[in-house]
């Protein structure tokens, strides 16, 4: 399934400074369904190159990281259970504090 995870707000530094990742992910269960939980572990394994604790804590993202599925907070679509469609844009962004 073609999908575009994007890392911003400093998280790109964990992925060789790359922000936009056009990737193709095999469906995890035979039903042809992909949920955020699957994508998260895929990103953790395949895109995060250093300091994984800066990206995840337990089985979800670490505090201070917002997850947006098609420009919408994943809290509104079921967090880890959000199901993904082809060509969805998923943004992982670390909140900034500077000024």
């Amino acid at each position: 399934m073609p999908i575009t995870p994007t890392t911003n707000g400093g998280l790109e530094l964990l992925c060789d400074s790359k922000k936009i990742h056009n990737v193709n992910i095999e469906q995890q269960n035979g039903e042809g369904k992909l949920i955020m939980k699957d994508l998260l572990s895929w990103v953790r394994t395949n895109l995060i190159k250093e300091r994984p604790e800066m990206f995840m804590k337990g089985d979800t993202v670490r505090p201070g990281v917002l997850v947006l599925v098609n420009d919408c907070d994943w809290e509104l679509s079921g967090q880890l259970d959000t199901s993904l469609e082809e060509k969805d844009v998923v943004v992982f962004i670390s909140t900034l504090h500077g000024g």
């Binding site: 400093g10 800066m54 670490r62 505090p63 201070g64 420009d71 509104l76 962004i93 504090h97």
Partner: protein
């Protein structure tokens, strides 16, 4: 004239200039008072009415804000609301600089500024409200003077202090709208909680590197900062502009957008950016506006069962909660025993005496490119463990070049330096563990070199 004489003369001239400027603004204010009173008084012998119906705006106001008044979606009502409003900007840095200038220009009736810091030369690339004349002086004084010079008809209030749980309720309660233009996580939680307790809308902006973020919290039932971020991020995830760098115009843009949102709320026009967040990626030229969660029923500050009161706010330990100090003093680690450390002065003696040694600079490569000490070897801390052989061979080469026998205890010494003397201690700890038992770090790093040895060494 010698340099010190010129400096003394400059100081006394600047002092005199400040006194004269103070006198001028006092007299101008006096004159405005008199003119206002005269405007209000009936004009004798004239057949015209003493006052025209103008919705409470004076002749000067109508002239000054005419381009606002002509806007159908803003108009007299919007401007009159703005003139009656009060806005507090916490932080007169990169975000506050542009926000404050627009607030003053637009005619916010009472404009408060909170900041404890002084203006530094390395602020000026982004904090465009400050001028060179104010380097070394308090930011609130500088920003206050700039706001008054833009618009002398508004009230500007300077709060020259850091925001703490002990003063925040008192300061914030005097304003209608709060603008978070600060630079650290604990202050952001502190401001948000205080706004929840006091029921004030909060216009929050942040910028770092090439990115910026903006949203409005606690506005008409919308989420607060804690609804979005119930748990603080790890300490290492919170870089400041001083650590990570920032392109000056980026906080400028976010500050302008904060001004826009606060002005909309104050004037009661348009749709504030509540429940939505603006994300700016300046490098790729992308702006996203995303939908964020609403108020969380479980939120500790604003949720249904929240018991966050003024009393609880006063007692809350924000530094402990975020594991970050409220005022961001340069972190000063002390990890090593004194025999594993040397001062920058001692190191300069070693250089002068040409004692055989290797100096490893553990800063990131892009920092090393800015400036470095002669003959230092750049091995960034993050790559140190994998590059130990380079250090071994550098030591051997130094010993060979200076005719020493290696391994006899009288071999070449190993010193480590970084920007401020924290990473160099971490590096020495690591080196000692890996067998370089005599490694020492230079206390205070390159900043100490510049301060104590060579004032001509550039700092950043």
């Amino acid at each position: 004239m010698s340099a010190s004489e010129i400096l003394r003369e400059l100081d006394s001239l600047k002092d005199a200039k400040a006194k004269i400027e103070h006198k001028i603004s006092a007299l101008e204010a006096q004159l405005r008072e008199i003119n206002l009173r005269n405007d209000a008084a009936p004009t004798n012998g004239s057949s015209h009415p003493s006052s025209y119906p103008t919705n409470g705006l004076t002749q000067d106001m109508i002239h000054r804000y005419s381009r606002h008044l002509m806007l159908p979606s803003f108009g007299v009502e919007g401007q009159a609301n703005l003139l009656k409003s009060s806005i507090l900007v916490v932080g007169a840095g990169g975000l506050g600089a542009s926000a404050l200038l627009y607030f003053a220009a637009a005619g916010v009736g009472r404009l408060g500024i909170v900041d404890h810091d002084v203006v530094e030369l390395n602020n000026m690339h982004r904090q465009v409200i400050h001028t060179e004349a104010y380097v070394g002086k308090p930011k609130v004084k500088s920003a206050g003077a700039a706001c008054r010079s833009v618009n002398s008809s508004i009230e500007v209030v300077e709060h020259q202090e850091a925001l703490r749980t002990s003063n925040a309720l008192e300061i914030l309660s005097k304003y209608d709208i709060i603008v978070d233009a600060t630079d650290n996580a604990p202050t952001r939680y502190l401001i948000s909680d205080c706004c929840v307790v006091l029921g004030k809308p909060l216009v929050s902006g942040a910028a770092l590197g090439m990115e910026g973020q903006l949203t409005v919290y606690n506005y008409k039932g919308g989420p607060c900062y804690r609804c979005l971020f119930p748990l603080p991020p790890p300490r290492t995830a919170c870089q400041s502009c001083a650590e990570g760098g920032v392109l000056g115009v980026v906080p400028g843009i976010i500050g302008c957008l904060q001004a826009l949102e606060a002005i909309k709320i104050a004037a009661a026009v348009g749709e504030p950016l509540s429940g939505r967040m603006l994300l700016l990626d300046a490098l790729s030229g992308r702006i996203r506006i995303v939908k964020i969660r609403g108020r969380s029923t479980h939120c500790e500050a604003c949720g249904e069962n929240a018991t966050f009161t003024q009393q609880k706010f006063r007692e809350f330990d924000y530094e402990k909660f975020t594991e970050t100090p409220l005022r961001v003093p340069p972190l000063k680690l002390n990890l090593l025993p004194s025999e594993s450390r040397i001062s920058s002065k001692e190191y300069s003696e070693i250089v002068l005496k040409k004692e055989p040694h290797v100096l490893v600079d553990v800063r990131p490569a892009h920092h090393f490119k800015i400036v470095s000490l002669p003959k230092s070897l750049n091995i960034p801390l993050s790559t140190l463990e994998g590059r130990l052989p380079e250090i071994s061979s550098a030591l051997k080469k130094e010993e060979k070049d200076s005719g020493l026998v290696s391994g006899s205890g009288g071999g070449a010494q190993l010193y480590v330096v970084c920007r401020r003397g924290n990473d160099s201690q971490r590096a020495v700890q690591c080196l000692q563990k890996m067998g370089f038992t005599s490694a020492k770090d230079i206390v205070g790093g390159l900043e100490s070199w510049a301060y104590n040895v060579d004032p001509k060494f550039p700092t950043y």
